[in-house]
């Protein structure tokens, strides 16, 4: 009786198992064999710190038959033993082995196609290959040429300025208005607010903002108008404080400097914004400067300032925030104008010389764009040349 029941159960189970399609019922698959990848090449990764070998291969022609990826194996001799050092999914034909144990030693590589439904393919082999470090990054030659060229142009114009050549600078409305803005705060007996941007001192726009702060502080010291400089970055705070203090000393009024005028607020973006909002609402500065790099808070700062009726001058190279400053501020220094400000306000010939250098470099950029287009369109060889000239890895 029990045997029959058991046999019945087995029968039932077999019938059920056979009825549902799927791997449980399917016959064991014949592992397909696929053609291996070919043309494996191994060589030192260029322009790096060493201990990396780059591999390239031509993918298996049978990728469609179930190849899921390629296994990369490495050994210290051609015979092995080989150990797996990497895997890339199918469709790719390159791999950088960045864990090469030592530079200058021979290594051998094998690559094979693998997949769940197939037997691993035969291998493609390459080697020996050696990794090494480079002392010059050839991929950055264009940046090197650019840096040297620009440095030379700047030095040339500074030399010219030193020799007393007169350099013309056109009027920049936002900067011409600085004097007027400081004057207005003085007349109204209200303070001047200066925000040196949201970026740390590591960002050059912050340094540009601090250069402007120096000029504004001198004017504020001259007119004896209180200055309020809230900071977001600790190092920017220390530099800003030194600059303002020195500006008062230079005008000959070191005693007028108020130690509390430059202070640290907070690092939190929105915490800083709420703090500055508070200052604008309570101290009612007559003039607001927003100089440096800004993020989303630009909108809150500029709109709040506009609502308090302050005259506002903004300057930023943050392209996404410029539209908000432009709509809410009386004057906005756009992009490069922020960097031109310290030369414009300081009126020192050497600083103006660099502005001239910037202009010539811009003209050069425009010229290169036109010339490059002409070259690229004139023939495939020249096109390759232009592409190489501008390629960045």
């Amino acid at each position: 009786m029990r045997t029959i029941a058991l046999a019945g159960l087995v029968l039932l189970w077999t019938a059920w198992a056979a009825a549902i399609p799927g791997p449980a019922a399917a016959p064991p698959p014949q592992p397909a064999t696929v053609a291996p990848p070919s043309d494996l090449a191994a060589g030192d990764t260029p322009n790096d710190a060493g201990q990396s070998i780059s591999l390239t291969w031509r993918p298996s022609p049978d990728e469609a038959l179930g190849v899921e990826g390629y296994e990369i194996l490495r050994a210290e001799s051609a015979e092995g033993p080989y150990a797996k050092v990497g895997y890339v999914p199918s469709g790719f034909g390159s791999f950088d082995d960045q864990a090469v144990p030592r530079d200058g030693r021979d290594f051998f590589y094998r690559v094979r196609a693998v997949g769940a439904g197939i037997a691993p393919s035969e291998v493609a082999a390459a080697g020996p290959a050696r990794s090494s470090q480079q002392w010059y990054n050839a991929a950055r030659t264009n940046a090197l040429v650019g840096t040297l060229l620009f440095t030379l142009i700047v030095i040339y114009f500074i030399q010219g300025a030193r020799r007393g050549r007169h350099l013309f600078i056109r009027r920049i409305a936002g900067l011409a208005a600085v004097e007027e803005a400081v004057g207005r705060a003085t007349e109204m007996g209200k303070p001047i607010l200066f925000c040196p941007g949201m970026d740390p001192v590591t960002s050059i726009s912050t340094l540009a903002a601090l250069n402007i702060l120096g000029q504004v502080a001198k004017k504020a010291a001259e007119y004896d108008t209180p200055l309020v400089v809230p900071n977001r970055d600790p190092i920017v705070y220390t530099v800003a404080e030194a600059i303002v203090k020195e500006a008062y000393a230079e005008i000959g009024r070191p005693d007028a400097y108020n130690h509390d005028s430059v202070f640290y607020l907070t690092d939190s973006q929105m915490g800083y914004t709420s703090g500055v909002n508070g200052i604008m609402a309570r101290e009612r500065p007559a003039t607001n400067f927003f100089m440096g790099y800004f993020y989303a808070e630009s909108l809150v700062l500029a709109e709040t300032g506009a609502a308090t009726g302050a005259i506002q001058i903004a300057g930023t190279d943050s392209i996404t925030q410029l539209p908000f400053f432009i709509t809410a501020c009386d004057y906005t220094l756009m992009g490069e104008e922020l960097y031109a400000a310290s030369a414009y306000l300081g009126k020192q010939p050497m600083l103006i010389g660099t502005l001239k250098a910037q202009d010539w470099s811009k003209a050069l950029v425009g010229l290169l764009l036109v010339a490059g287009a002409a070259l690229a369109l004139s023939g495939p060889g020249l096109r390759q040349f232009v592409l190489r000239l501008l390629s960045i890895d």
């Binding site: 264009n142 650019g146 600078i169 056109r170 915490g271 508070g278 410029l322 960045i392």
Partner: protein, 213 residues
Amino acid sequence: MTMSTDPWVWLAALLSLFIFSYLYKDNPLFKFAEHLFTGLSVGYLIVIYYNNIVRSYLLNPVLADHRWVLLVPFAIGLLYLFRFIPKLSHLMLIPIAITLGIWNGIALPLTIEADIIRQMQGTMINTSMFRNPWDPYTGLAVGILIAVGVICTITYFFFSREHKGALKVSAHIGIWFVMIGFGASFGYTVMARVSLLIGRLQFMFTEWIHLIK
């Protein structure tokens, strides 16, 4: 309609309202929230500084691994504190000079590469544009339009010449491009900001006042 009984949720909701109240006008509740915000965020920054920098890069390596060499940057950092001694306050300039040297050096070639060469690369007219010259994104006509826009925009930023004659025309076209670009940024940002507001309102009406299920 029910309301949350979690005091922390209440705190969060009330403080959010205090911040919102600034939209009406500056008031004692906003002032309180603003000062609390400043305090907590600075406290938070101190914790980050202590745990992630002082502890990881100074205390642990020196005390546990005896990497005494790290006392060198520590000592240079101490120079910042000379600010409080008027006669020696100029020593503070040394760590500042180190900072400026490092970061300006890093920025110089990097900016040339990212802002100049990469942008030139993107602007360059090339033969692939011939394939479909009137394609609105990759065609030759658009390539020329972009190049003209870029060059005119550059001329707007010429400082050493008065905007007169050809330069005036080109700078004027440039400023039009600039304004179209700023408008695009503006319009693009509107929706992003509205979604931030929706996110906050969702908190108020789901977790605090259970109005939305």
